[in-house]
C-alpha cells in the first residue's frame, strides 16, 4: 500500500486548487482522477455550453485570466484546456485514469482503494464535484412509454433528440439554455418551471456577476447566512454566457415562442400534469431579483460607482392568463423530455459514516465529523461563490489550513493521549 499524507479525489478545478494549496504548505499529496484532468468538462457538457461566469472571474490559486477577452465566456473545451494548463503549471501530482473504488477509515487516516492499487492517507479531500450524477424528479419514474428522456449530463445538441416537440423540465441555467437551443432548432418547446433564480446578464452597464463580486455578495459566508439549508438548495442562476451578453429569462423565452408551464407534478395516463403554482414562483423570482438589485444600488451609492448608468428595473415575468395544467404528450406531438432538474454528488464509494438520512454528507464548511476528511466544490460550501470556479481558491485555502492544523494536532497529541490513559488507569 502506497502512503501519502493527503489524497485528493478528483482533478477538476477544485481538486487542483486544493493540490496547489497543499503544495504551498509542503503537504505531501496525490490527486487521483478517474479520467483526464477536467474530465467532466470534456465528457459531461452539451456542445453549446459556455461558462456562466466571465473570463476575468476564472481565478484559481496562483492563477488569473490574462487573455484578451476578459468579458467573454469560455466554452467547455476552453475550460478543459485552461484547467489542464493549470494542472501542468502547478506541477500537480495527478494520477489520471485512476478510479477510486472505496475510501474507508483506518488507524491514523484512510485506506483509499483504486482500480490501480491502494493508498494509505492521513487525510482525504473529496473533490469529485456537486454534479457527478443527474437528479431526476419523482415523476421521472412514471414517464410514459415511447418518450425519449435525457438529462443535461447526457444531452449534447438538438440533433440527438427524436423529431417532434420537447418538454424541458427545469428552468435553471441549463434548462433555459437548452429550451432556447431546442426552440431555435425548430422544435416546439414546453418549459416546466418551478422555483428559479431570475437574473439579468448585465446591469447598469456591467456583468451582473461583476456587481455580485464587487459588492461582496459572492463572498457571503456559510456561517453568516440566515438560512443555510435554503441557500445551499437554491437553483442555479438563470444565466447564459453569449458573445452578445444577452439576458435569457422567462420573458425572453416566451417572446421567442417557448411555452411556459408550471412545475412538472407527475404523469397520468400519458398526460403530463403541471402545478398551478407558476404565478407564485414567478412572483418569488421577480421579488428576489428586486431585492438583489436594491442591494446592488445601495452598495453602488455607497461606493460611488455606476453614476453613468442609472438603476434599472425589469418588467415583471409575464404569466399567460391561461397556462395548461395538463398536456397529453402524444396528442401534442411531444416526443422527448429533457431533465434539467439538477445534479448531486456521487459518493457511493465513500464508506465513512458522515451521511445524513438522505445520503448527503454532513459537513461544516467542507469539514466533516470524520477527522481528516474534507469536501470541496459543493454549493455554498463556505461562501456563496463556492459553486463557481472563482470560489475554489478561498475555500481551498481555508480547508488546507484546517487540514494542516489537523495534521499538527495529530502529530502533537499522540503522546498526550497516552499520558491521559495512564492517568485514568492510575485513578
Amino acid at each position: 500500500m502506497a502512503r501519502t499524507t493527503t489524497v485528493v479525489v478528483g482533478a477538476g478545478h477544485c481538486g487542483l486548487a486544493m493540490s496547489r494549496c497543499l503544495a504551498d504548505r509542503a503537504i505531501d499529496h496525490v490527486v487521483l482522477e478517474r479520467g483526464e484532468v477536467a474530465d467532466a468538462w470534456r465528457t459531461q457538457r452539451w456542445d453549446s455550453l459556455r461558462l456562466l461566469t466571465p473570463n476575468w472571474m476564472t481565478r484559481l490559486p496562483g492563477f488569473a485570466y490574462r487573455g484578451d477577452d476578459p468579458d467573454g465566456y469560455m466554452t467547455a473545451p476552453q475550460v478543459a484546456r485552461l484547467i489542464t494548463g493549470y494542472a501542468a503549471g502547478s506541477g500537480a501530482p495527478v494520477l489520471t485514469g485512476t478510479t477510486v473504488t472505496a475510501v474507508r477509515p483506518r488507524s491514523d487516516g484512510y485506506a483509499v482503494l483504486t482500480d490501480r492499487g491502494a493508498w494509505h492517507a492521513r487525510t482525504v479531500v473529496v473533490a469529485t464535484g456537486a454534479c457527478a450524477a443527474a437528479t431526476l424528479p419523482q415523476p421521472a419514474q412514471d414517464l410514459p412509454d415511447g418518450i425519449t428522456a435525457v438529462s443535461t449530463a447526457v444531452y449534447r445538441n438538438p440533433a440527438a433528440l427524436p423529431d417532434g416537440g420537447v418538454l424541458v423540465v427545469g428552468a435553471s441555467a441549463s434548462g433555459i439554455q437548452i429550451a432556447q437551443e431546442l426552440h431555435r432548432s425548430g422544435r416546439p418547446v414546453t418549459l416546466a418551471v418551478g422555483e428559479h433564480v431570475r437574473m439579468p446578464r448585465t446591469y447598469r452597464g456591467r456583468d451582473i456577476l461583476w456587481w455580485m463580486d464587487a459588492s461582496g455578495l459572492l463572498d457571503e459566508r456559510y456561517d453568516q447566512v440566515p438560512d443555510l439549508v435554503r441557500a445551499r438548495h437554491l437553483p442555479s442562476m438563470q444565466l447564459v454566457g453569449t458573445p452578445e451578453r444577452a439576458t435569457l429569462d422567462l420573458n425572453a423565452l416566451t417572446a421567442l415562442g417557448v411555452r411556459v408551464v408550471g412545475r412538472l407534478a407527475g404523469f397520468r395516463d400519458g398526460t403530463a400534469l403541471f402545478s398551478g403554482s407558476l404565478p407564485n414562483v414567478c412572483t418569488l423570482a421577480d421579488l428576489k431579483l428586486g431585492r438583489l438589485l436594491d442591494g446592488i444600488d445601495a452598495w453602488a451609492d455607497r461606493a460611488g460607482i455606476g453614476g453613468d448608468h442609472p438603476p434599472q428595473r425589469f418588467p415583471a415575468t409575464a404569466v399567460p392568463a391561461s397556462v395548461p395544467l395538463s398536456i397529453d404528450l402524444r396528442a401534442q406531438g411531444i416526443a422527448s423530455v429533457v431533465w434539467a432538474t439538477g445534479h448531486r454528488p456521487e459518493l457511493s464509494w465513500l464508506h465513512v459514516p458522515v451521511f445524513d438520512r438522505k445520503g448527503r454528507v454532513v459537513h461544516d464548511g467542507g469539514v466533516t465529523a470524520a477527522p481528516g476528511l474534507y469536501l470541496i466544490g459543493l454549493p455554498f460550501l463556505r461562501r456563496r461563490k463556492s459553486s463557481l470556479i472563482d470560489g475554489a481558491a478561498a475555500d481551498a485555502a481555508e480547508l488546507a489550513a484546517h487540514l494542516a492544523a489537523h495534521l499538527d494536532t495529530r502529530a502533537g497529541r499522540a503522546p498526550l493521549d497516552r499520558r491521559f490513559d495512564v492517568d485514568r488507569r492510575a485513578g
Partner: protein, 186 residues
C-alpha cells in the same frame, strides 16, 4: 429623546416552530403527521363532520375540543342550507392556511401586521358536477385570492410575505398539485 423599538408581536411563536425544525434532523419521524375527520350523513345533502384527533410529534394528539362542521348545499340547490358547501370549505381552508402563513412569516421577518383581509373566490362550471358536459371538470377552473394588508412594511415586503406564505402553504400545495386519493368501503 430616545425611541425604543416595540417588539414585533403577531401572536405567532416562531421560536417554537423553528425549534421543531431544529429537532427534525435527529428524529425525522416526529414530522410524520396524520390529519383526520369523520363525516356522518344527516339527511339529504346535509352531513356533519367532526374533527378531534390527529397524530404527530410521534404520538396521538387531540384538539382541546371536538370541532363540528355542518356541510350542506344552499336553498337554490333545493337543499336545506344547514351549512356551507364542501367547495366553500376548500376556500376557508386556503384562506386560513395562507393567512396563518403570512402571520408566521411576518413574525419571522419582524414585520408588525395590523390587519390582514383575504377574499377568496373560485370559479366553477356546474356543467361538470351535473354531468351535463363531459369536457368540463367538476372542480374549480380557477381560484383567486386577494389580500388587503396593513403592516409596517413596504409594498415589496408585503408582496414577499404573501409569496413566501404560498410557497410554504399546505393547502396551496394541495390545490395546485395532484394528490393521490383512495376511497374504500369497509
Amino acid at each position: 429623546m430616545t425611541t425604543t423599538a416595540t417588539p414585533v408581536d403577531n401572536g405567532v411563536n416562531v421560536e417554537a416552530l423553528l425549534g421543531v425544525r431544529d429537532l427534525l434532523p435527529d428524529s425525522p419521524e416526529m414530522a410524520r403527521f396524520q390529519w383526520r375527520s369523520t363525516t356522518s350523513w344527516v339527511n339529504g345533502t346535509h352531513s356533519r363532520s367532526d374533527v378531534e384527533t390527529f397524530h404527530g410529534f410521534s404520538e396521538e394528539q387531540r384538539h382541546h375540543a371536538t370541532f363540528n362542521f355542518d356541510v350542506d348545499h344552499p336553498l337554490q340547490f333545493a337543499a336545506q342550507d344547514k351549512g356551507i358547501t364542501p367547495v366553500e370549505y376548500v376556500l376557508v381552508a386556503l384562506g386560513g392556511c395562507l393567512t396563518a402563513g403570512i402571520a408566521a412569516v411576518a413574525q419571522q421577518r419582524s414585520i408588525q401586521l395590523r390587519s390582514v383581509e383575504a377574499t377568496v373566490t373560485a370559479e366553477m362550471d356546474l356543467h361538470g358536477i351535473l354531468g351535463a358536459d363531459p369536457e368540463v371538470r367538476n372542480g374549480f377552473s380557477g381560484v383567486a385570492v386577494r389580500y388587503v394588508i396593513d403592516a409596517d412594511a413596504t409594498r415589496d415586503e408585503v408582496e414577499a410575505l404573501v409569496a413566501q406564505s404560498q410557497k410554504r402553504s399546505a393547502v396551496y400545495d394541495i390545490l395546485t398539485n395532484p394528490t393521490s386519493v383512495t376511497v374504500e368501503v369497509a
